[in-house]
């Protein structure tokens, strides 16, 4: 029998970190397959996670392919499956199938400055490509990150972000002022206008809520970035992951298979149905 992509491979949860608590809780999970199965991903790709008895959810892989010991997922508690994932404990077994979708064309970006722009849980898909770029730092120009969250409590990867400041420029922001916050206050798109990154020889990669992405793109264009210099990821409801179940399409594109990574030059020509 041919390979059956619908059958998940079993994986053990080896570490769970609570990033954000409360109504919009986020946890980061590290997983290891029970058996070596040749799973190999590229930055930007997603995997379908199973909690048996609850179902599946498509989650972007936040660890870099350079990390061989585990797969990492940072997950916002939202629906049936992500809520069930938040109930799991270290040692529990979940199912993983994939990887699915295209990836960031990082090989095309050699020699360029990379500007990562994330909002909320949108840092998770960026985290993989950001760490891949950091792992091959000599291949690129300057690396920098803009990251914003609603409040300081909603910031994910807090410790990692502090460590990251030693390796690249990091511009953090929160939406509303707080007493002890020393960095920028305001939405991510405004922080970009404030810091004015240069479009010269640069690529921007942005992930976050659709409304943030929309204004980030507008503001990048105002700073002189061309459509080809702006990359983002699209999220839609998915079930199969292989372009057959029919629900994640934008125009003729299936986001699960042809996406989730698009340059704005590509995406602007597709129906804005996401």
């Amino acid at each position: 029998m041919d390979h059956n992509t619908y059958i998940p491979k079993l994986a053990k949860i080896i570490e769970i970190k609570e990033e954000v608590s409360g109504a919009r809780a986020i946890k980061t999970f590290r997983t290891q397959f029970l058996e070596d199965n040749g799973f190999s991903h590229r930055s930007g790709q997603c995997a379908m996670l199973s909690v048996f008895g609850k179902g599946e959810a498509m989650i972007s892989i936040s660890s870099s392919p350079l990390e061989k010991d585990y797969l990492q997922f940072s997950i916002l508690k939202m629906g049936r499956v992500t809520s069930a994932l938040h109930e799991t404990q270290v040692g529990d077994i979940i199912g993983i199938r994939g990887p699915y979708g295209n990836s960031f064309p990082i090989d095309k970006w050699k020699g360029k400055n990379l500007i990562f722009i994330g909002g909320g849980i949108g840092l998770a898909p960026l985290w993989s490509v950001l760490n891949t770029a950091l792992g091959k730092k000599q291949d690129f120009g300057n690396l920098s990150l803009f990251y914003g969250a609603r409040t300081s409590k909603d910031v994910v990867f807090k410790q990692e972000l502090e460590e990251l400041k030693n390796k690249m420029t990091v511009h953090l922001s929160i939406d509303v002022e707080e007493p002890d916050w020393k960095e920028y206050v305001g939405f991510v798109p405004l922080n970009i206008l404030d810091k004015k990154p240069s479009p010269k020889n640069s690529i921007t990669i942005t992930c976050g809520p659709p409304i943030m992405i929309k204004f980030v793109i507008q503001n990048l264009q105002a700073l002189g970035f061309k459509d080809e210099q702006i990359y983002t990821t699209v999220e839609n409801k998915m079930k199969c992951g292989i372009g057959k179940c029919g629900r994640c399409n934008i125009g003729m594109h299936y986001v699960c298979k042809d996406g989730p990574v698009y340059s704005w030059a590509e995406l602007k020509n597709l129906p804005q149905e996401y």
Binding site: D2, Y6, G55, T82, E235, C248, M252
Partner: protein, 346 residues
């Protein structure tokens, strides 16, 4: 290979095929459906269009992907449930429905082959029946590159010549079925061939519904995504989804877990037909819905069939069977919608 089979010899042929599971049209009160044949004498090929196409045999409404089972401290056990070996023949396949399977083949094939679909597809032989008269008043196959005697996707095409069938075997599998009852089939006479051509030509003339200049529709649709046209067309839609559930080419599905017991955890992961006409189809778990209203969902149905599918697979995703027209409770007629699209705007 062309042959003649007397109608009264059909049951004898079917008897020779009983190592296969056989489906044929059967009447259930007022509707025709494909049912398993137990007695060959029961096969009745004097049928109108079936309620559902034979798609349901290849791509059933419910497919079990695997069973799962987990005791407290054990790892989950996953048992893949590939369809069993069961060589199958479907009798009385209408040419539009056979063509529809060539379209679902495109979806379930490609770089991720769907093993459940192909297991059933590869073990199923399709014996078609040409439509001497349109089996539905809403037939429009000629408009979507089909015909009432199209051979596309079929292994055998039967044409009713009165007291006999003209039998065209089109594939190795078709020839195999004829060879299982060689003595029943005789070579056609010159007159038979003439009759066949006449009947086929006449059958095309009997199809009254058509979409003129459908070629103009895909490029036209490209500019209509933001149009208020869809609001107007979808106004009467009840969001029942029957247009898609009855469609022989619609392939959208859902995947869910069905739990049979909690301790130990046992259950199944199942695929079921789904439809772009339901709000849940695209609704994110956050509540955000990229297709929030029936206008955007009607637009998706039409654009998928007549623009996106054409761009992706170079075929219309419609074979003109007319089921969506016949079954729509509020009379939304895909022919009228496409006529309006073609003539829309300047």
């Amino acid at each position: 290979m062309d042959k003649i089979l007397l109608k009264k010899a059909l049951p004898q042929w079917v008897k020779k095929l009983q190592t296969y599971r056989i489906y044929a049209p059967a009447k259930d009160e007022d509707i025709w459906t494909y049912e398993a044949v137990n007695t060959p004498e029961d096969i009745d090929l004097e049928f109108l269009i079936t309620a559902l196409s034979p798609k349901k045999i290849i791509f059933p409404q419910r497919e079990v992907y695997f069973e799962f089972n987990k005791d407290d401290n054990d790892n989950p056990d996953i048992k893949e449930t590939i369809p069993e070996d069961e060589p199958t023949i479907v009798f009385g396949v209408r040419p539009c429905d056979a063509k529809a399977l060539t379209l679902t083949d495109l979806v379930f094939g490609g770089d991720f082959e769907d093993v459940y679909y192909w297991k059933r597809r590869n073990q199923t032989i399709l014996v078609g029946l040409a439509c001497n008269t349109p089996p539905s008043t809403n037939c429009f196959c000629l408009s979507v590159e089909g015909s009432p005697h199209s051979k596309e996707g079929l292994d055998i095409l039967l044409t009713d010549l009165g007291d006999k069938y003209y039998v065209e075997s089109l594939t190795k599998n078709g020839v195999k079925l004829l060879n299982l009852a060689k003595n029943l089939f005789t070579p056609p006479k010159a007159g038979d061939k003439k009759d066949l051509q006449k009947i086929h030509a006449e059958s095309e003339k009997k199809i009254k519904k058509q979409i003129k200049n459908l070629k103009k529709v895909p490029p036209k649709l490209k500019g209509m995504w933001d149009s208020s046209f869809w609001d107007e067309e979808a106004m009467s839609c009840l969001r029942c989804g029957i247009c898609t559930y009855m469609c022989p080419t619609c392939h959208c599905f859902d995947i869910n877990d069905e739990v049979h017991s909690h301790t130990p955890l046992t259950g199944k992961r199942i695929r079921t037909w789904d439809t772009c006409q339901f709000p849940d189809f695209t609704m994110h778990s956050s509540g955000h819905n990229p297709r929030p209203d029936k206008a955007s969902r009607l637009r998706q149905r039409i654009m998928h069939k007549f623009q996106y599918f054409v761009e992706r697979y170079q075929n219309y995703q419609c074979t003109g069977c007319g089921r969506c027209i016949t079954n729509c409770p509020v009379g939304i007629d895909i022919i009228e919608v496409l006529d309006k699209v073609r003539d829309y705007g300047p």
